[in-house]
Amino acid sequence: MPALAVIVVLFGGALAGAAKTSLVPLTNSGLGHPTLATWRALVHDPALWEAVRFSVRIAVLATALSAVVALTLALVLRRRGTTLRTLVALPVPVPHLLVAVVAVLWLAPGGLADRIFGALPFDLVRDRAGVGIVLVYVYKEAPFLVLLLLAAMGRGLADREEATAVLGASPWQRVRWVIWPAVRGPLVVGSIVVAAFAMGAFDVPLAVGPNSPLTVAEYAQQATANDVLAGEGLQAAALLVTAGVSMLLAMIAVRFAKDVQGG
């Protein structure tokens, strides 16, 4: 399969490149000897751990909210016409950064929401809790998950649901035993993609996030701004940490899905 070759070469090469940059320091006279100094410096930097906590919180919150909103919308929409479905799907093609621009125009201090409703009692953009970032992700990702869920709630599902209804199952039982098993797979896969994206993307945090705390990707970007030579290694190492955390979240999600299945 040529696709597999492309992924192995480019993606494997990318990870190897990042690992190499994090291990071999750049000095003024060229490449130094491989050392763990960069990693040591990284794990002892409290700012990194703050960034990891902040990123994980944003990723988990954004994903959980998107999943709940998407599941609710999908349950309501599955019996409705195509107009409503199309309307819900509209944000899918809008780039993230554009949603961030919208958030700034509406929700920033002095933005349109402030002007229409009077001063809002809370900050939504560049707030320390990162609420703005989470809102942007939910607006953008919930419709994406709705599409996945609706695709999984096909024709066969309605028939099975009807059958259980005839057998006397309550609406709640139908959701629990008929719908949930059908949508769980796509929901988990979609949520993993969303969480990994929220974890690693930094265009949205740069646009609507606070100056502190930073997400890990922002931390990585700043590393090179502070020190061009040592920063390269620090940046690569921090990005590898992000990749590791994303995969860890994915593994937890898969595990969780299995548990739900067994229960």
């Binding site: 480019l10 990042a18 107009t83």
Partner: protein, 255 residues
């Protein structure tokens, strides 16, 4: 009757939730002066549009369009056989292959981009369009394959078998049977692939810092100059909507 009214209300609400926020971008792009607390702009003008159509942004627009177009085409061509093999369950152990193909989705694109930079610097691909295409391909290919898998399976194989038994050659079988059946999914995959590349920020910055792409040009303005940011956003949105229209037209199944 009440049900229908409810449905109409929901439709209006959803349309509003989408259109109203975006409308602010259009107004902001044409507002030379819009100071708080005014709800309508004090002065309309074309400063934002002029800025957005100046050299650097136009160049970025062209770069983004070229990269997204080329990446999507390549991803469809090399993603097709992979999706076909996976969709028809021809592998004895599909799970590892599947996981490997999906792995780039789990890693931040900025990390992939930075890692590639290490090698691209040596072979002269840094800040070049081919370099950007390769960097985006890593991210677009998994999405394209995951969508395309849905197109293949026993129903298509049966149709193709019928074509063969009717004496259709390889080429006409592809043209008359496979392509029409696969087309809606192909359109969806192309649309998603184009969008992923079009909105990609992290690896564009890492690999092509010296060759601006549209998201990279847009971001600094979000904090510094909302009018220019809004004007560039309009440029940013137009091809995405265009791709949606083309994809939804192509996805109408003739069968």
């Amino acid at each position: 009757m009440a049900e229908r009214r409810l449905q109409r209300a929901a439709a209006v609400l959803l349309a509003g939730a989408f259109a109203l926020p975006l409308a602010a971008i259009v107004v902001r792009a044409f507002a030379d002066a819009w100071r708080a607390p005014a709800i309508v702009p004090q002065q309309l003008g074309l400063r934002g549009i002029r800025e957005a159509l100046s050299g650097a942004t136009l160049e970025a627009l062209t770069n983004s369009l070229v990269v997204a177009g080329v990446v999507t085409a390549i991803a469809l061509v090399i993603g097709w056989p992979a999706a076909r093999v996976l969709g028809e369950r021809r592998l004895r152990r599909p799970a590892p292959v599947f996981l490997l193909l999906a792995l780039p989705l789990l890693v931040p694109s900025y990390a992939t981009g930075e890692g590639l930079t290490e090698w691209f610097l040596r072979i002269g691909l840094i800040d070049s369009l081919p370099g950007l295409v390769l960097a985006h391909l890593v991210l677009v290919l998994p999405y394209v394959i995951l969508v395309l898998i849905a197109a293949f399976g026993p129903p298509l194989t049966a149709l193709e078998e019928m074509g063969r038994s009717q004496g259709l050659g390889t080429l006409s079988r592809f043209r008359l049977v496979t392509m029409p059946a696969v087309r809606p999914t192909l359109a969806a995959a192309a649309f998603l692939g184009f969008l992923v590349s079009w909105s990609e920020y992290g690896s564009s910055l890492a690999v092509g810092g010296g060759r601006p792409m549209l998201p990279v040009v847009l971001l600094p303005f979000v904090r510094s100059d909302p009018q220019v940011a809004s004007a560039i956003s309009l440029l940013f949105l137009a091809p995405a909507i265009g791709a949606l229209l083309i994809a939804s037209r192509a996805s109408r199944s003739p069968l």
